[in-house]
């Protein structure tokens, strides 16, 4: 495979976040969801964000994609710092898979429409061929192409959502608890699919999860979050060996056994 110059240049740091603060509301209603988060993810790496619900891990992903508009600090993707507005080109580099596949697909749009529109928006020409290739890539056959979401199972819907995120051929994929809404047996299938896709497409993952075993399986490094702050960043080997230095991480590890 010929690697483009773009990938060569950004080979080191895919995502850098420095002193990121994210908040909702203003004045007395202001809620600080993320406080002073700093971490970076190398090209090709898989990075996990773990913590309890409400610890701000999903909010970091939403700030990166621009869905949470109030943030300060520095976010840079593939070497380029982001401002408040995201250009369409940005979404060719960064894509996101949402937590709940029952809520992330338009109820009146067929699989074909969902993928076709995505490809159209990113300026692809050969949409028909691309749609069928995407369906094959995520392990859905052509027979799913013209179904509506209500004719699909949760796992199949999540595969469609993954196909949509892959359509613009991004380098960085943000995964917001991609398996937490699914059955245990389906979770493994989706995780394996994500691992295979990462290997095949040289993707960088940032994966949010509250399930330490999922992160241990999928990620190289992880950050533990509590109350909007990153309390510890560690290698996954340390996680497997149950060696956390911060008391909160130790507590989290002990609770997950």
């Amino acid at each position: 495979m010929v690697r483009g110059p773009k990938r060569e240049r950004t080979a080191e740091r895919m995502l850098e976040i420095e002193d990121l603060n994210v908040w909702f509301g203003s004045g007395r209603d202001r809620v600080d969801a993320v406080k002073g988060a700093t971490f970076s993810v190398a090209q090709g790496q898989s990075f996990g964000l773990v913590g309890e619900s409400g610890s701000g891990k999903s909010t970091i992903l939403r700030a990166i994609t621009g869905l949470a508009p109030d943030w300060s600090g520095r976010i840079s993707v593939a070497g380029a710092a982001l401002n408040k507005r995201r250009a369409r080109r940005f979404f060719k580099t960064v894509q996101m898979v949402f937590q709940d596949p029952y809520a992330s697909l338009h109820p009146r749009h067929s699989v074909d429409q969902v993928l076709g529109e995505t490809l159209y928006l990113h300026g692809f020409r050969d949409i028909d061929a691309c749609v069928s290739k995407l369906l094959d890539d995520v392990g859905l056959g052509q027979k799913f192409r013209f179904r509506y979401p209500h004719q699909l199972s949760g796992g199949q819907r999540q595969r469609v959502a993954i196909a949509r995120a892959l359509a613009p051929e991004p380098d960085l994929l943000l995964l917001d608890e991609p398996t937490s809404a699914l059955d245990v047996s389906v979770q493994a299938e989706i995780l394996n699919l994500l691992s295979d896709l990462r290997a095949a497409r040289l993707l960088t993952y940032v994966m949010v999860s509250h399930d330490l075993s999922v992160v241990g399986h999928m990620c190289d490094r992880l950050a533990v979050m509590n109350g909007g702050q990153i309390v510890e960043i560690m290698e996954v080997a340390a996680l497997r060996a149950m060696k956390a230095s911060h008391p909160y991480s130790q507590h989290l590890l002990a609770a997950s056994v």
Partner: protein
């Protein structure tokens, strides 16, 4: 025979499949399943039947009407029900009431069709833009909506007709102008629940602009509840048109508009009750049909009810 039934069975299976093979197939299949669930509602089918009959009558009016609706026969005025040649009697100028009702169906349909085109579309535009854009746009649009909502409908329509001049087109315009605010409210409420959903976030992450999101992602979800509301409101719209006709501000004589016919018959209501009652019954039947249809459509289209 067996062959034919096998073929219809094949068609049924083709229509009800869970694995459509093309875009067209998927769409037809979804329509057919909606039709099946609509068909199981008897009252809604009755409503639909009445409305189909109304459309047929309106189209075939010259063939069906026994007399010219404008032909006067002063020697035979106020003939009772079942009078020879005049099944529903004649009015104060000796015109055949049945023929006038049949021709009046055209006017009723005309009013209904125009209002149904103008009011919900205006409401949908205002409501979805207001709900999706938010901020001061929302404020301005919703305050305008409030102003229109604060007036009693018929009074506002009267004011418009008085300003624009009496006539059926102006009546339609006046009714539409007073009918759109509830649609705007419904569309805005739906938009507010939709705009924060993950599938809208997902399409924003593909770089889609507000125009595309509103027209291709939000409208399809708002339209069904609007259609239901429109059919339920149709009765009110027919009555408002009849009311304007009754007050002499809608259709002008000698036009056989049903409201205007009631207005003319009012003078004789005690001695010759059928002159006002027959058009009243026609209005009642059509209004009822729209209500029944609306109820049935709500069961089919409203995603909240079906899930």
């Amino acid at each position: 025979m067996a062959d034919a039934s096998g073929q219809t069975g094949g068609l049924r299976a083709w229509l009800l499949t869970d694995t459509p093979t093309s875009r067209r197939h998927a769409r037809i299949s979804a329509l057919y399943q909606g039709w099946l669930s609509f068909r199981s509602n008897t009252m809604a089918m009755v409503g639909l039947g009445i409305l189909v009959l109304l459309v047929l009558i309106a189209f075939a009016a010259p063939l069906l009407a026994p007399h010219d609706p404008f032909a006067q026969d002063l020697g035979n005025r106020l003939a009772p029900l079942g009078a020879p040649g005049h099944v529903l009697g004649t009015d104060s100028l000796g015109r055949d009431i049945l023929s006038r009702l049949i021709y009046g169906a055209r006017i009723t349909l005309y009013i209904v069709a125009l209002v149904a085109l103008i009011a919900p579309i205006a409401g949908l535009l205002v409501g979805t833009v207001s709900g999706y854009v938010g901020g001061w746009v929302d404020m301005v649009l919703m305050r305008i909506t409030d102003i229109f909502l604060a007036f009693p409908r018929l009074v506002l329509a009267l004011a418009f007709v008085a300003a624009l001049g009496a006539g059926i087109e102006n009546a339609v315009l006046a009714i539409s102008l007073t009918a759109w605010p509830p649609y705007a409210r419904i569309a805005r409420a739906e938009t507010l629940t939709i705009r924060k959903s993950d599938y809208i976030s997902a399409i924003r992450l593909q770089g889609a602009g507000p125009l595309r999101i509103i027209t291709t992602h939000i409208w399809p979800l708002c339209v069904s509840s609007l259609i239901v509301r429109v059919t339920l409101d149709m009765a009110g719209i027919i009555l408002a048109a009849a009311g304007l006709g009754f007050l002499g501000l809608g259709a002008q004589p000698p036009s056989p508009e049903w409201g205007a016919m009631i207005s003319e018959g009012r003078r004789f209501i005690l001695d010759h009750w059928w002159v006002a009652t027959m058009p009243g019954l026609a209005i009642f039947t059509v209004s009822l049909a729209f209500n029944l249809l609306g109820d049935g459509l709500r069961d089919v289209l409203d995603p909240k009810a079906s899930e």
